[in-house]
């Protein structure tokens, strides 16, 4: 009985990756840091509850960024899609009062936006960086055009409950959305044909073509997934803040990139697991929380995110080059 559950565990999570351990160590270090310097602020029920509400917004975006990077690309337009979907949802719910319709419409908008990105990348072969940077302009611009620059407010309670409500009187709905998204993404990446194709295409898109993988479809699907995830993040943001605007969350792009890279996603594609990304999300939430407690202003936070990204990339470089064979100095 015990052996079987261990097997199931191992098969589900996969063998412990080399980069999971450092992440766990980091979490412990941060918890110790908090315990030493601000135990009364960090280790309170209030703080953990607040973190539980904050995490889903950028966490879901990070998952989207992760899958695009595994496929060998990147999605810099997610924040724009999120805002666009938030506005779509806000308009729907304020005009019809139906939260369900608002959610459905927002997800469709997200999927279509992602489809656009995927088509540009997969069919026309335009570099993902260019496509999604341009896409960011388009989606944000569309959002601006629809709202004429103003924010949409007056969101009914039925919708606000998504970002602010609880399931089973204890777990925030938005957190559940994040966890479910993570599990679904993990299952997709590990247990579906499409998932394996994403890894392979991200490793070598020429070989994947020669293997019969339909690169165009894989790209479209991938960016649609990130589009849908962006829409979920948008819905949660709109619901939490009670309003939708065209330029919320612009600092999230760098943050989600940082989370992905820290979580073990290789920017060149083909490598990375959801579990690592989740740990990375938790790490960054803890750090962000500590920053709030330490009263760092948002500028300082942005600065430190940039610094951490650079430090992580440099340490990745050192770790990789330790294993490389010592070549002659000419190389």
């Amino acid at each position: 009985m015990k052996k079987k559950s261990k097997e199931i565990y191992k098969r589900f999570i996969g063998n412990i990756e080399k980069n999971i351990l450092p992440l766990l160590v980091l979490i412990v270090l941060i918890l110790i840091w908090a315990a030493i310097f601000k135990p009364d602020n960090f280790y309170t029920a209030g703080n953990f509850v607040a973190m539980a509400y904050q995490i889903p917004e950028f966490g879901i975006l990070a998952l989207g960024m992760a899958i695009c990077m595994i496929s060998g690309g990147i999605d810099l337009s997610m924040v724009g899609i999120a805002n666009l979907c938030a506005i779509a949802a806000a308009l729907t719910v304020t005009k019809t009062g139906s939260a369900a319709m608002a959610i459905i419409l927002a997800v469709i908008v997200g999927a279509l936006s992602g489809c656009f990105n995927g088509l540009m990348v997969g069919f026309f072969g335009i570099p993902p960086m260019l496509v999604t940077l341009g896409g960011l302009q388009i989606f944000t611009g569309l959002a601006m055009a629809v709202t004429k620059g103003a924010a949409i407010t007056g969101i009914p309670e039925t919708f606000l409950v998504i970002g602010n409500g609880l399931i089973l009187k204890s777990v925030p709905i938005s957190l559940v959305v994040l966890l479910v998204s993570a599990v679904v993404l993990h299952v997709i990446l590990k247990f579906t044909v499409y998932g394996q194709q994403v890894y392979m295409m991200g490793t070598n898109s020429t070989a994947s073509r020669y293997t019969g993988i339909n690169n165009v479809m894989v790209n479209i699907r991938t960016y649609m997934i990130s589009g849908v995830l962006a829409s979920l993040a948008g819905i949660i943001m709109c619901s939490r803040y009670g309003s939708a605007n065209s330029d919320y969350g612009s600092s999230y792009t760098l943050l989600t990139l940082l989370i992905a890279v820290l979580g073990g996603i290789d920017p060149n594609g083909g490598k990375g697991k959801v579990f690592g990304v989740m740990l990375s999300i938790v790490i960054l939430q803890f750090v962000s929380s500590m920053f709030n407690i330490l009263r760092f202003n948002s500028f300082l936070k942005t600065c430190i995110w940039g610094l951490i990204l650079i430090v992580v990339m440099i340490s990745n470089y050192w770790l990789q080059n330790r294993h490389r064979v010592r070549r002659s100095k000419k190389e």
């Binding site: 098969r11 247990f191 194709q197 890894y199 070989a207 994947s208 020669y210 010592r326 190389e331």
Partner: protein
């Protein structure tokens, strides 16, 4: 007694446990034409890199023009007059022909400013030397492989070279261009320049080369004047085994048609290609690079689909517009560029094995890792792949084992037709023989095997018939009794 231009003594070089060179000696006399031969993996590329200064030898010394070096830099090597033309040519696809030709000269000149007039002059002169005319202002990425090599050779000839080493120079040239290349080589010899042709096929360089040095597994095996070597001795030295004149003759004279191609054509690549394959047959397609031989494979597999003609599998016509169509029709393709087209280097051996047929490992939507694992281990056993398990990344395997994995990947899809482009390039002797055995077995089971290759012994020994392509058209078809004529017919 000719002066010795370059002498490498006792060169040892290892890369993290792999002993590429184990105490190799190498000598080149002034103005001689030498062939450095050996199978892939014998160490000849490493030796070249040591001599050019790109690698530092672990042990041994290199003496050039009487100067002794224990640690050679590329600048030293070039200053001593050593020029290397690598197989990938080291040319810049985004720069023009003229600039590519003149680039070494520009850098050596240590100039800060560029004179385009001078560049044009230099490039034109270099091309005239070779009797070639190319549009000087064309970006090199627009050129065919053959012309790219011409540009590389032009460049190498410009410097005050005393020794030019060419890595597999004849692979991409037509017979006319090979003849012209040999003329130039003789011209250079008259000027006192030594030429080393690195090659693994004797017949290509037999006419021009004076002396030959053969390496095997990082050690010297033979060294002497070319007339002391014939095909048999050559292959024996290269492979360490006596040549096996085992030829493939299909047991059944089957009339069951498994594959038929009628008037297949692709704009700018090939036309009017027709052939029929019966159960048990192995078809060979050969020709010089650019003759369309590789393009036929890529058309049948849907990578660059044909623009005309018809394809029949088992009597039924299929249309191949893309790779998915081809795979669905039962066609598999082992590409010639294993590293870029055939393998996912960073991924595991196991994943590389099952990725093509991965759909069949699904149990109700989800992949069964158990099924995949057993599939992986089965293939490793069946094809005799030297791998500790299915987990390590495939880049850790040798070329021969990697090729077996590519083969396994396609066999996993239960193909009806298996096309292989250069199946044993860069593959060690043992694996090469294994692969040939596997192909014969498959043919006997009724799978149509097409081998596209320029390795004549491979074709002679394994094919029941061979098509010779010349400039996009079928020039000749040899059946099993006419195989001995293969090399002659090719060079016509």
């Amino acid at each position: 007694m000719e002066k010795i231009l370059l002498e490498a003594k006792g060169i040892k070089k290892s890369f993290g446990g792999v002993h590429a060179l184990q105490g190799v000696d190498f000598k080149v006399h002034k103005g001689e034409i030498l062939c450095l031969a050996g199978e892939n993996g014998c160490g000849k590329s490493t030796l070249i890199k040591v001599v050019s200064g790109a690698h530092d030898a672990d042990e041994g010394e290199v003496v050039i023009n009487g100067h002794k070096y224990t640690s050679l830099t590329p600048q030293d090597s070039m200053r001593e007059g050593i020029q290397i033309i690598y197989q990938d040519f080291s040319i810049f696809p985004n720069l023009t022909v003229a600039e590519n030709i003149a680039i070494n000269w520009e850098i050596q000149g240590k100039k800060k400013l560029v004179s385009w007039k001078k560049i044009e002059e230099i490039a034109r002169k270099a091309m005239d030397n070779l009797g070639i005319t190319l549009d000087l202002y064309l970006p090199v990425e627009r050129l065919s492989v053959a012309n790219k090599q011409v540009v590389a050779i032009c460049r190498a000839l410009l410097d005050n070279a005393k020794l030019i080493i060419m890595d597999e120079p004849t692979t991409a040239l037509t017979s006319k261009e090979v003849a012209r290349l040999f003329e130039i080589i003789k011209l250079l010899q008259k000027k006192g320049i030594a030429i080393v042709l690195v090659n693994h096929k004797l017949e290509e360089v037999y006419d021009i080369v004076e002396r030959i040095t053969i390496l095997r597994n990082g050690k010297n095996v033979a060294d002497g004047p070319i007339d002391e070597f014939d095909e048999v001795r050559f292959i024996e030295c290269m492979t360490g085994r006596a040549i096996e004149k085992k030829s493939y003759r299909p047991d059944l004279q089957s009339t069951v048609e498994i594959f038929r191609v009628e008037k297949l054509k692709r704009e700018g690549a090939f036309e009017n290609v027709s052939f029929t394959m019966h159960k048990g047959e192995i078809l060979g397609i050969t020709g010089l690079l650019g003759s369309g031989r590789g393009e036929i494979g890529e058309a049948l597999f849907g990578i660059t689909p044909a623009t005309g003609g018809q394809v029949f599998i088992g009597g039924e016509q299929i249309t191949i517009r893309n790779v998915q169509d081809a795979i669905r029709g039962g066609i598999s393709y082992v590409p010639d560029d294993r590293l870029t087209q055939g393998l996912f280097l960073e991924q595991s051996i196991g994943l590389n094995t099952v990725i093509a047929a991965i759909r069949k490992y699904c149990k109700q939507f989800f992949l069964s890792y158990e099924a995949m694992e057993s599939g992986m281990t089965n293939w490793i056993k069946e094809l005799n792949i030297a791998a500790p398990s299915s987990k390590p990344p495939i880049k850790t395997l040798s070329g021969g084992n990697q090729q077996k994995v590519v083969l396994a990947k396609w066999l996993d899809t239960n193909p009806k037709i298996l096309i292989l482009n250069g199946p044993t390039v860069g593959v060690d002797v043992g694996s090469k023989s294994d692969i040939h055995d596997i192909l014969r077995e498959l043919a006997a089971q009724g799978i149509g095997i097409i081998i596209i290759s320029d390795d004549l012994p491979e074709l002679e020994q394994n094919c029941s018939s061979v098509i010779i392509m010349k400039q996009g058209k079928m020039a000749d078809t040899l059946n099993k009794d006419e195989m001995a004529l293969l090399s002659d017919k090719l060079r016509d």
